[in-house]
């Protein structure tokens, strides 16, 4: 049977068996060569993709380090004719904004995550997960405009408005990471608590959440990292300021907005200061990301 098929094939294809064999060997070589080539190309693409990261980090660290000093951190705004001053006001402002944003987004995020983790396959549960994903893709500038129309146009620019805008941007990250971590907690833990007669809310708050606490912390870290450098929404909400201010109902300074102003400033002094601010923000973001990742790896190894 096999032989006859071979013979028929030999008759059908012009040329002798030897030539066919050679052609098939060639074909094999081409296939393997293209395999090696394309696989190599994927490695090259990865190198090209990582190159900008290395390039940006290099510039930020080298140029930022030469412009940063303790005095720069501790001094408030001064005109360039007086040396340009420092960014203490922006550091304070950003800390306040981060605190406000966390204050607004963490309770709401945790409650939402509890709902999704409790009802993962109900239609509302799925819809909420989907909505979280969609919300995370919303441009930050749109969120800024929204808070402008909602809060600022009635009550003026304020730190509070900025905190709310940043909280909306943090929300999806907190919900997703908290939900993932809640799902990792064994169900038997919750069942044991319920079997002892504890109501659902007590089980959730005293057993389930504490068991997932590190996850919630990593979620918060990632969320802060996401909004620490957000600039666009702050234009419409906090306005920015050159003064040291801790009032929640007044315009407030922030690192990213100051960085933006200093980077587009014609003065060389301001440009150098912009690099120093970039160094602070990037360091903060990197530390938060790396820290969150370390905690998450450590956590998933420790459990189960």
């Amino acid at each position: 049977m096999n032989e006859s098929v071979e013979q028929m094939g030999a008759l059908a294809v012009p040329g002798t068996g030897e030539r066919r064999l050679r052609r098939s060997v060639m074909h094999q070589r081409v296939r393997h060569a293209s395999n090696t080539f394309m696989l190599g190309l994927t490695g090259l693409a990865t190198a090209v993709g990582i190159a900008p990261l290395v390039w940006i980090l290099f510039d930020v660290f080298v140029r930022g380090a030469s412009a940063i000093s303790v005095q720069f951190l501790m001094d408030t705004f001064k005109p360039t004719s007086l040396g340009g001053g420092g960014i203490w006001h922006a550091l304070v402002g950003t800390s306040i904004l981060m605190g406000l944003a966390a204050l607004f987004s963490v309770p709401l995020g945790i409650l939402t995550a509890l709902y999704v983790a409790r009802n993962p396959n109900t239609s509302l549960g799925l819809a909420v997960r989907f909505g979280t994903d969609v919300l995370s893709g919303l441009p930050s500038i749109v969120v800024g405009l929204f808070i402008y129309t909602l809060v600022v146009s009635g009550h003026g620019y304020s730190a509070l408005a900025g905190g709310v805008a940043l909280a909306i941007l943090m929300l999806p990250i907190i919900v997703r990471t908290t939900e993932e971590m809640l799902k990792l907690v064994p169900k038997s833990l919750r069942e044991a608590s319920l079997a002892l007669g504890a109501p659902e809310w007590k089980t959730a708050l005293q057993v389930w959440l504490p068991a997932a606490m590190t996850g919630i912390v990593t979620g918060l870290m990632l969320a802060v990292a996401r909004v620490a450098g957000e600039t666009a929404p702050l234009i419409f909400t906090t306005l920015g300021s050159n003064n040291l201010s801790t009032a929640l109902d007044k315009p407030i300074a922030s690192l990213p907005l100051t960085l933006f102003k200093y980077a587009v400033d014609p003065s060389k002094v301001r440009n150098a200061q912009a690099w120093a601010i970039a160094l602070i923000i990037v360091t903060l973001v990197l530390l938060l990301n790396i820290g969150a990742r370390l905690i998450a790896t450590w956590r998933s190894r420790k459990m189960y």
Partner: protein, 332 residues
């Protein structure tokens, strides 16, 4: 005696029955959970509603011609969104053309080739690109990227392909060219959306069942043939979703684009000329919008941006979910 105890007992029954109807606090608890979940949708509806209401002035003034009008002259209160929409689409598509192949190949490398020990670290480094704030990209773009990369590349493109006599039908590389340009914005955007495309495509590829790969390899396919003819088609809709998510991110990017695109509201076909995008005009001219109509026009621009990115995100997530949901068997 029985009489005197009656009220107290009644009272106790009443309390315990209230407590029981609330199931010891569980009903308010579940209500709070559901309410906070629903607030998410309230938020999205609220964004659309508020932007719709506050752009009423502009919509009443110009109607749909806002989208098609090409003149943007705030002094004469002429507001047309077309140059900005075209600018947004041009820069986003340019970014996509560069970032899609690169991101897909990175995803293939991470999902199929990379040794397990390195997969986490390299994937993390790619994702870190997304963690760097937009405004830092912008500053880097102004001081480093434009002078040392965009300018030589742009000049080379202009020299090779930008001669209007030799290439009359290729207007996208014609000069003059001064650095800040749509090309610069597109390149920066490509770097910024690369992690989105790479990370989500990688997750999609990892969700393709192992049996698919094993079957292809068992039939004698090389590894690349397996990837190209089996794994990629299986995850195609998810990869498409990743690309659309990248596009959505590019549309809304504000600060980095504002800082490198030059901010000129003129229609020009050349990538080497400055431009303007929807997001950057809102951010850039917000402080100057003194008249109510000007502010309303900028808010309507935001509404358009919201509608576009909402639509893209919904479509993209549905596509990504369709791959993740269809694979109940063991994953690779």
């Amino acid at each position: 005696m029985a009489l005197s105890q009656m009220p107290r007992r009644l009272n106790r029954v009443a309390v315990s029955s209230l407590s029981r109807t609330l199931r010891h606090g569980d009903i308010p608890f579940k209500g709070a959970l559901a309410l906070s979940s629903l607030s998410l949708f309230g938020l999205m509806i609220g964004v659309g509603l508020m932007l719709w209401l506050r752009s009423g002035l502009m919509r009443a003034n110009a109607g749909l011609s806002f989208i098609t009008a090409t003149v943007w002259n705030p002094v004469d209160e002429q507001f047309g969104a077309a140059p900005f929409m075209i600018g947004t689409l041009t820069t986003s598509l340019l970014a996509l053309i560069i970032a899609f192949p690169l991101g897909l190949f990175i995803a293939i490398f991470l999902a199929e080739l990379c040794p397990l020990g390195l997969r986490g670290i390299i994937g993390f480094m790619v994702e870190l690109l997304a963690a760097i704030p937009s405004v830092v990209y912008g500053a880097w773009g102004i001081f480093v990227f434009i002078p040392s990369f965009v300018t030589p590349v742009g000049n080379a493109l202009m020299g090779a392909l930008g001669n209007p006599q030799r290439f009359p039908y290729l207007p996208i590389f014609q000069g003059p060219f001064f650095g800040a340009s749509k090309l610069a914005a597109g390149l920066i955007l490509a770097v910024m959306i690369l992690p989105t495309i790479a990370a989500i495509s990688r997750d999609v590829l990892l969700a393709v069942p192992r049996s698919q790969r094993e079957a292809a390899l068992a039939l004698g396919s090389t590894q690349w043939e397996t990837i190209w003819q089996v794994v990629l088609p299986y995850g195609l809709s998810g990869i498409l979703g990743a690309v659309i998510l990248g596009l959505g991110r590019a549309l809304g990017e504000t600060m980095a684009v504002t800082m490198v695109i030059g901010n000129v509201a003129q229609l020009s076909t050349s990538l080497l000329r400055p431009g303007y995008t929807m997001a950057s005009v809102i951010a850039n001219e917000w402080g100057e919008s003194r008249t109510p109509l000007y502010g309303s026009a900028l808010i309507e621009m935001g509404l358009l941006l919201f509608a576009m990115s909402l639509l893209l995100n919904i479509v993209a997530r549905l596509l990504v979910w369709s791959v993740a949901r269809r694979t109940p068997e063991q994953r690779a």
